[in-house]
Subunit: 208 residues, 8 copies
């Protein structure tokens, strides 16, 4: 069995006390622990009792790496459209890394300036799995999907205003993409994308 | 005054008799006449009384060109994602031509195979105005919008299934495009795009 | 290069003539050909000109296997909730097989009678990738997602009435699943699920 | 007549003064009193004037039990998917108890880890009525509905993010459940579920 | 065990052949059989092979009562707003009867002429369970819910036009009813209401 | 000309300064002035400069009655379902009075306790026009509409939670009412209802 | 009492037999009879048994005027945007006339050519009540509402395509009109508008 | 090349630090800089480091005009319905000016008082391009569109309440306008309208 595979706690809607309780119940276990969607205020409270947990400000996750996790040779590429997608991208990246994947970050390559995407397309193509993260109209998923042959997981983000409808426009784009080989997760679900990408990457890794 | 500018009749929801009545009331006038959204059955009935009207099978429009219209030097580029957008594209094209514009058709260059778009990008860039027509996720509008500097009018089409929601996915994409310089018309409104593009092209033409 | 990988044509919204034209343009090529979403009437017309194409009544696809495709050792499990999901399930299955995958069909195991699912859970767990197909409320995806550790691709179907909203209820279920490791495709998009599963399965296959 | 049946006041959108006024108008009556949806701040203000009212922090209800209510022999089982559904679950539980029902709480048995549900299925099956409370995709209702033969009342909660749409995803799941014998109440309406379950349980109780 | 409890087949989206196959597989069993949502054309085809099945034109259900079912003393009242709700009402009624319940039909007592409802309110109050069926704005559910003390199951129907949105207006009314003790099933789900009402009525019946 | 007819200012989205500016520009005129949707904070600021304006705390309107307005003999009845509809009801009432109408308030007579409505039905029937104000499911409009023969204006309010969708459920109820003679205004638009009712009442008044 | 006031039957969703049954049950009564929403096929069947009923092809209503109804002096103006609104306009007009109102029809004066509206504005202003009927974006209601001082009832129609959403765009326009004094009925509800206008007109008529 | 054309930064969702970073990276370049959607608090922080940036309070934009931009002879008319549309109107105006356009502001001419519009129609007609900005029901776009022959860009704003749905009602109005020659941008997207209008105006300007 791969050791170090983290136990996941969904932090949203849980109080600091509830999170502490759940983590303490796992103290004995050897699993690493990852708590998602913890705002900085709540993280501070949790860390008063459990200073072992590292807080990642960008992805808003708490991580306790009791055992270091070996990284895959094959890579997960995480591609974002804009600066505002950073939090979700890092949620995906930190999740994937916590599950033992090598991650390559290719940020801020949205289709409005498509040359930035082409400048880094070889890195993207070299990955075993690609995660595309975009808000507003989410067109980046279709363009990347058309350019790579590896499986693509698309994450719509709630970036945008008006008819972006908090990520709905990007979600519909990704579900209806004319490029094939794209599957989709919930709006702002960087965690889910990182987790699924990890599963695929580990299947591929076994082949190396 | 430019002669030959057509009078427009919206054919949907009108009976053949109503259309005939409206056209006959204009018999004296010198205007050309364009009737939009006339299915082939209704067109046949109208043409029994008014064989002067030419029926365009693809765009489903009736056109009576009493006076030939001079064409602009500057061009309107009409760019489509797929074969299924043809009807709407031709509605835009025939409208634009009826209003005296030179039109260049660049069809079937959707982002799933983006090299096809790049192969024709110079023709698109040479146009004064660009109309982008796409269904499904409508990402083509964003990509074209990012590559050209002329005004872009985007037309979402009802092509697709499931969460394409009869054009809603493409509409949202176009309204939220991260590329600037894009304005949008109603789903399947090829006529409206052709008409607005014509207005812009004639403004530009005066400059030549 | 794997030979025999099929070229895909999206049949919906295309006339029989258009499909014939596209297929004939590929006559020389060695690719297999797969045409999706072709109703039986249209298939008949296409086959008048191109009797080489085999029509699969259930999945409503046309397939021309010029070169037989070797099948993977690893399997894709296709799991459905009810009888009414058959068409979409077969679209996924035939697609996956056309791309050289071994497929195991586990149909009609919806959660209303969860013992039917448990009776076959070992077969599902043995697969490299699992496709879950369900309409109505789509709860099967969550239950399977919780029971297997391989990547799960969920396909909502338009089966149901009233607030099923033509697949929207099942789609939302799948996007919000409390089980992790699930990614989602468009409503009724059996093809897309089969295609993405194939990509993942081939990554895994390299490892054998 | 059963004495002790509580009078209900809907607290949301009422000021502390309005609630005090309504309660004081009932001072003479023998009815118990239950005020729903009172946040802790408002509860504090009400209790300054009416310290007899007990405030339940979790369910956010005020209760004045002037007369103790005898409990039924038959039980109402309250089953939840996750920790975040606690508030709504307690609203249902406290309501049911206030109306004289024995309640058994089976919390945190969501389908992502279905063994936790099976571990407690006998307790659930022993109840006369089952209330299932779940947010996100709400699949728990279908699974429980398929496993028990008593009437099931499902409560969607606003737990989740993105396309959970504040409980809409869970509501649709519950309305479209492939399991039969499930009826549904409004999102987050723990009170309504507890109240209806009480009615059914008392009908059954008469039989003992 | 109560004998005669029918086995249910959901007829929609199944071919006549599929229905025949499922029924024939149960030939040996002693269960009665009820097939829901079978239009008259399909029913005719099924009855060619299986003339034992009785077809109920109004509710569009096929019923094979191999063993007569004893009826309860306690009654289920089925209350409808208008003539157009008849099909759904009968689906509920026939289902309830097939499961051994006495049913009292109180049809066409919508709130536009509230005296008609009051004229029959005693019959409604005498029932153990009340099913309220209404389309358009569905206000009847609230009025009945306020007048009776037994559990009420509300069924929104797709009767109406424009903003009735195929039953959505009535559904929302029923979910938000200011009267307590109402639970709701899917739009047009007369079967589900009859089934759940039966469960409750049988619980109550044990008491007699 | 009727003197005293107030000039209306829509206060929402305007700063205190903007409101002051508009009112001061009318200082010379003889019109009364009514400013709608002014929260108490903004009202305070406005009244620092313009203490002549009276602020009505409940309806959140500012009123400057430079000239007293004679009241009609005929009455507008304002009927509400619950306590939470008070603000909107008073917006309608104060508007109607400012336009010279006699108003009769019949509050808190929702259909959950329909006897309260019947207790006051004669007063409602005696009015020339009836305004019905209700949130949640809004069924009161249908019941009143069925009982009176005068024109009814229905106002949905944003009272409720979950699927009440901020007044949408009540709006749909009112638009689809099976009772005839009901017209509808925007959610929470007490002002509009009072204004339209005033128009009708004055038409009727001329007859006295 | 005014004699001749018609009894109303809602024809949609009723069979010819049901309509005949209801009409025959009223044979003895002196009331006129109006049946709404009867398509021509159904009307034909009804008239086989009841040739006394007159069928109005445009409004699709059956009318039996047993007693002639005196017409009011005051008028109801019915204003439409386009030719396609004719059916709904006539439904309103025939209803209003059946209830004894004088009607003035002002059709095809949509805001795209606002001079046509101004050409007839005096006729509209002379009416006691104005009904505005429009599809697509429904802007006519706002323009008329701003120009007249009588009560305005707005009817959205399902004319349009794409984002017209079968009348939803026009409905929202009318509910949010910046002009005051407008109330709204359901999409395509010409009958309801005619009925409510009649109530108001008769209140005003008493004054003459 | 036109010098002085500004570089655009989308400020929303970016921290002050991120904005400062991006601007500093352009210090060397000769481009003017325009940062959109910067609230006053964030602007203050940015200006601490970069006092060269001018902050426009109304449009909430930061502008650094390193090189003055020559203005066009032809004009862009910006037309608004009400006072509350001011912010979006100024976003369009400041954008257009920053790109070298002469702008004429025609504010507060909504259709409720259509004479205000007619009083300024000549100024509007004199422009090369017209931007119409309106919230609530957005009818102004249709009226202006019917009165002018130049291209019209419509901007729906989130002004309004209830069924205005944060700009959705106005958006639908504009997309479905019966007047031709109107294209639409996202809700509250004053920037996009100003930018597209600038493109068109510069095409026309070349002609002078
Ligand atoms: N950010 C997230 N989004 C969606 N699911 C999550 C997230 N974080 C954790 N989960 C899942 O939530 C479940 C844990 O929920 P809980 O028991 O409430 O902590 C696990 O199945 C996780 O995989
Ligand atoms: N296909 C179309 N989509 C949108 N508007 C159209 C279309 N065809 C014509 N129109 C517009 O409809 C108006 C004519 O409507 P009508 O008077 O009903 O023929 C004119 O303003 C046309 O510009
Ligand atoms: N009209 C109906 N609406 C909702 N569920 C139904 C209906 N008819 C049958 N069912 C349920 O559908 C399931 C049978 O589905 P199937 O195996 O496809 O026949 C059973 O759980 C039934 O209780
Ligand atoms: N609460 C309200 N809801 C809807 N419309 C209003 C409201 N208050 C004022 N109005 C209308 O808004 C217009 C005045 O808008 P303004 O010029 O912005 O003050 C007038 O036509 C009023 O009738
Ligand atoms: Mg690809
Ligand atoms: Mg561009
Ligand atoms: Mg799993
Ligand atoms: Mg069950
Ligand atoms: Mg009750
Ligand atoms: Mg009435
Ligand atoms: Mg007016
Ligand atoms: Mg125009």
């Amino acid at each position: 069995k791969r050791t170090g595979v983290p136990e996941i706690i969904y932090g949203e809607g849980k109080t600091a006390e509830q999170i502490i309780g759940i983590v303490e119940a796992m103290l004995e276990k050897q699993n690493n622990i990852l708590v998602t969607r913890v705002d900085s205020q709540k993280a501070k409270e949790v860390r008063k009792s459990l200073p072992q947990l590292h807080y990642d400000e960008v992805s808003e996750m708490l991580l306790w790496e009791k055992n270091p996790v070996a990284k895959t040779i094959g890579k997960i590429a995480i591609v974002t459209a804009g600066t505002s997608d950073l939090k979700i991208a890092e949620e995906a990246a930190v999740t994937a890394e916590a599950f033992g994947n090598s991650v390559v970050r290719i940020y801020d390559v949205g289709v409005a300036g498509i040359h930035r995407l082409f400048a880094r397309i070889d890195e993207i193509r070299a990955a075993q799995v690609v995660i595309v993260i975009a808000g507003m109209e989410g067109a980046l998923a279709s363009v990347v999907g058309g350019l790579v042959s590896s499986p693509v997981i698309a994450v719509p983000t709630s970036v945008g205003y008006g008819t972006a409808f908090n990520g709905m426009a990007a979600l519909l784009t990704m579900l209806n993409s004319c490029a094939t080989g794209i599957t989709v997760v919930n709006i702002d679900n960087g965690f889910g994308a990182g987790y699924s990408a990890s599963k695929i990457n580990h299947l591929a890794e076994a082949a190396k």
